[in-house]
């Protein structure tokens, strides 16, 4: 699948030749590209290998990237959220062609076809009764129109408990 707009490739130079902001940007796009291509989030060890870097440097870079909440780390430092993707299974599977990912929530599940500019199917279900509510995106249009999105907490509190929000 073509990966729209991302130009980044695995760095040819060691990370020590990169500034902190180049490393942040490079690692961020690397994680996205790997997630898109393989359907799986790279591990810290994968990132260290690709950037010819130490685990410590990768962890501190991920920590900086997590300040925006777009990326979020588990206690062991591995990523669990690479918004809009989830690195762990959720009730929001998204299929594009023969590839699939998980969104963190319905907003993020919609974010995957939005980010990739691709037709998609989201196998969502009602948060209350679990009734199947598939959502399809075709040629940039939303096909299903039934359904209401509910956000449990006000915007200013979203990141106090991301998992619940």
């Amino acid at each position: 699948m073509p990966e729209a707009r991302a130009e980044y490739r695995t760095p040819k130079t060691r990370h020590r030749h990169m500034s902190k902001s180049q490393l942040d940007s490079g690692l961020r796009v690397f994680v996205y590209r790997r997630m898109i291509r393989t359907g799986r989030c790279p591990t810290v060890a994968d990132m260290a290998k690709a950037f010819k870097s130490s685990t410590k440097t990768i962890l501190s870079t991920l920590s900086r990237l997590s300040e925006s909440h777009a990326f979020l780390q588990q206690e062991n430092g591995e990523l669990w959220r690479v918004a809009p993707f989830s690195a762990i299974p959720t009730p929001f599977p998204v299929t594009i062609g023969n590839r699939s990912w998980f969104g963190n929530c319905i907003w993020d599940a919609l974010g995957i076809p939005a980010m990739l500019s691709k037709d998609a199917r989201i196998d969502a279900s009602c948060g209350c009764c679990n009734l199947a509510m598939p959502v399809e995106i075709c040629k940039g249009k939303l096909l299903a129109t039934r359904g209401i999105i509910h956000i449990a907490v006000p915007a200013c509190e979203w990141y106090k408990d991301v998992a619940f929000t």
Partner: protein, 72 residues
């Protein structure tokens, strides 16, 4: 952020979780929000939205009021 089949199902969920009702948006608004929020995420130069920028996106989707406020 969950999807529900109806307002009644949102109320039932809130009751089950003992939560006050939050904010709602239509699926169409959700799709537009996702496009505005994630459309540029693969750019090498992407930066997180500031609070005023995020509020501007919410307004563009028709999400206004105290629930969607991030500033002041």
């Amino acid at each position: 952020m969950l999807l529900f089949r109806s307002e009644q199902h949102i109320d039932r969920w809130c009751s089950q979780w003992k939560r006050p009702r939050g904010g709602t948006l239509s699926l169409a608004q959700g799709w537009k929000l996702a496009q505005l929020w994630y459309g540029d995420r693969l750019s090498q130069h992407w930066q997180p939205k500031t609070a005023p920028e995020a509020e501007s996106v919410f307004r563009e989707v028709g999400l206004v009021g105290k629930f969607w406020k991030l500033t002041g």
